[in-house]
Symmetry: C3
């Protein structure tokens, strides 16, 4: 926090993160901001050429941009191959997470031994045999089941639930309301239509540097484990079924659902509201567009889409009426072609 | 509650809310009900002419309806321009929210000063420098971060989480499991495919008279704030991304997702399961149908739709097979037209 | 747990659950596993003929399968008409839920009388007049409102919220973050576009043997009750609106949304991410496919689908462009047919 109040000079920033500085290296930067709202103590970034004209009117102290956008930039600037990632690092340096006071709040119930560097919030519960790494933060109201392991420097915000036996790596960030390790949806149908529950005896294993959004749920495995590899980033309200495996550095936007036993590759991106069915495989480096339903395996990298374009309701009514007649339409075209060919022969 | 036991006469109701009474003003109404289930002490409403025939058999003590539906109504009735809204007000008068006992439950942890009129439930946690308005209710298990401000007469049900620094207006109703102010999904991609987190230094600012459903999540802003204006109504399981702005009196049904930086107008309605992509603008008075994906800005009011009609699976298989050939189909039609024109010339 | 350590012999299993045993009845089974990962102490199952070849290489101690798949099976096996359901029962026998220690954790707040057989976790809150059946488990951080009734042998995991007055049957399993009985989304529009809340005076009534997934929400009724019948199974992140009725033994996968007053039949299945609109009726034994939007009633059993097939984004761009021109396309075909008929007459 002291760091943020004082900020850093452009020289200090470039010395830490690289890049080429054009301008006064002694200029002190106190915060990050958008080009539009930045003031003289702020550093902004330009990643999309669409916003280049904002450079002319911005009051930012400095801006991070690519060589292609740097020409004629009227502001002090840092040239970087990847301005957005550079900006992210500067933003982190200026905004370290608030330091949590180490220690266990008197109202928390802790049934295991914890390192003195760990912070446990009011009313949190940590079960027997749980192991938590040094410097981690367990927010108020969290419930950590027995035998759970969590790596060092992890941050669990308020009201996170982790079921017994799950493993979470170092530097995890887990937001409020997330539930890790609830039973997968394993039920077997009886002859009379009723269901018999299949005990879910696997667990959830989460790698290092994973972020999990608010109210996201990750189910424990049925027989084997559900696996989230290193560096995966999950937004809010995502549902991950039992025995799913998500490859390293894959990122999913809000409201995505992944059904049981799907294997998602590394470095994939999944747009908001997409649904991925179970027992299929998605290759590395695949991008799924928002609201797309993935019904079968995808074996090569690329972008895949399956959404219906929206339109004014009146137009949609007309077009939607035809969506149930596409097969008939295709047949009619086929028939027309045949009849036309017949005629063409005659004349 | 005493009020409800006694109820009100039709005269008292009309004197408070207006409308024209046809029938005995001394009749005492104790509760609201549907036309079908109402008894002599209940008042019902008729808004949809489709249900007009229910008037004949209803045992309701009275009914609220429009002039158009009032002709020949066999029951005592109140004529109103807006029967449903009139009914809502009568229902509220008959069913005031249960009064919470003021005071802080001994098991709650409160690290700020609170007015004596505020009720804090068992095990709730309220952080330093939080400010809460008079007459508000903080349910059991809620976690209110440091520096949060909440207006007067707000009701937060059990297990709501509000992150530090967020602002919530007067008379807010927030249901269990809602998470206000978790980090937005801000990540920058590095050259190796991994992600660097962008600290989310904005907050969430919520106006007056806003209702937020169970397990709904509203992320804090990345650099600026996420804004929910006065009178917005959000159902359950909605996800609002960082830096979204939702205009006053907009209502969204369950399971909607709104991606980052979308600007939604005033008095809009959004149907269940719709997904609105980020960085776009929706005008005032726009209605988005259920399950519609909004991929670009909407500049004029109206109703917009983008859903595929469902059908028996066997039919769907045939039609769906053509959905991937629409472009080819259009080309074939074009070609047929050309060939036909050619023939027509000849003959 | 002792049972699991010792396991059961094949003779004991067949004696309890029936089926025909081929192999050494004295063989001791300690756990269930997949064919691929099973060892000599494990029993596996084969339900899908696709995996039949795994029998040859499996190291399982025994396998459960149908008569059709049993021929030539090299492993000890139990022949059953319904191998998956048989497997489920064996799995349950080998993996009884961990016994919770009866008693109320000192940090829990209980304002009602509870049977000594009930287990209440750390920091849970149970309101006045709540009634909970013998042998039930209320996890840490749960909030059970006043007047709630819960049957015997129910298991509520950590951080479940049940609003006042709701009723839950025997042997319920409710996962963390679920919210039962929050207000339905009942709002009436005023002439100026603002909304008036309609008090939700119904409750939620849940039958016996119901399982509810993590972060699923079930709203209380507006005037009458929301009803979940016996044996219903709901996965995670499902939203059930007010006054919905779900028939016995219906199962819904994750992320489904059901809008207010929908009546869903018995023994239905609903795929992940499907949205069912309100005020409609779905017959018994209906299967809704994943991501399908149900916009009107379904009166006969069968499978119904409404999803757009996904494809490479480049192909989708071309096909999607035509989706807004289907009506025009149909008209063109009609016109072509007429012109062609005209020509055919001439020649």
């Amino acid at each position: 926090m002291a760091e943020r109040a004082d900020g850093f000079t452009l020289d200090e920033i470039v010395s830490r993160f690289g890049g080429e500085l054009i301008g006064d290296g002694a200029l002190r930067i106190r915060q990050v901001a958008t080009l539009v709202l930045a003031g003289p103590g702020d550093i902004a970034f330009l990643a999309n050429p669409k916003y280049r004209k904002q450079l002319k009117t911005s009051r930012a102290g400095a801006v991070i941009l690519s060589a292609a956008n740097a020409k004629g930039c009227p502001l002090p600037h840092i040239v970087s191959d990847n301005p957005y990632a550079y900006f992210a690092k500067v933003a982190q340096w200026l905004n370290p997470p608030p330091e949590a006071e180490p220690g266990i709040h008197p109202s928390a119930i802790v049934e295991t031994r914890l390192d003195a560097s760990i912070s446990v919030g009011a009313g949190a519960y940590i079960g027997p045999d749980a192991r938590i790494g040094a410097g981690s933060l367990i927010g108020p109201g969290c419930v950590i089941g027995s035998g759970v392991s969590i790596g060092q420097q992890a941050r669990l915000f308020a009201n996170v639930t982790v079921y017994q036996g799950c493993a979470i790596g170092a530097r995890a960030i887990i937001h409020s309301g997330a539930v890790i390790g609830a039973d997968g949806f394993g039920i077997a149908r009886e002859a009379d239509g009723s269901w018999t529950k299949i005990p879910q005896i696997g667990k959830v294993v989460i790698g290092n540097d994973v972020e999990i959004g608010a109210n996201t749920t990750i189910d424990r495995g049925a027989l084997d484990d559900t696996v989230i590899e290193d560096g995966v980033k999950l937004d809010n309200q995502i549902q991950i079924g039992h025995n799913v495996c998500i490859g390293a550095h894959t990122a999913m936007a809000g409201c995505v659902g992944v059904a049981g036993s799907a294997k998602i590759g590394r470095r994939c991106t999944v747009g908001g509201g997409a649904i991925i069915l179970g027992h299929l495989t998605v290759a590395d480096d695949v991008n799924i567009s928002a609201a797309t339903l993935v019904t079968k395996s995808i074996s090569r990298s690329g972008t895949y889409t399956g959404a219906l374009p929206f339109e004014p309701h009146r137009d949609w009514l007309k077009n939607a009426a035809q969506m149930r007649h596409l097969d008939a339409m295709a047949e009619k075209i086929h028939e027309l072609e045949a009849r036309l060919a017949q005629l063409e022969k005659k004349t």
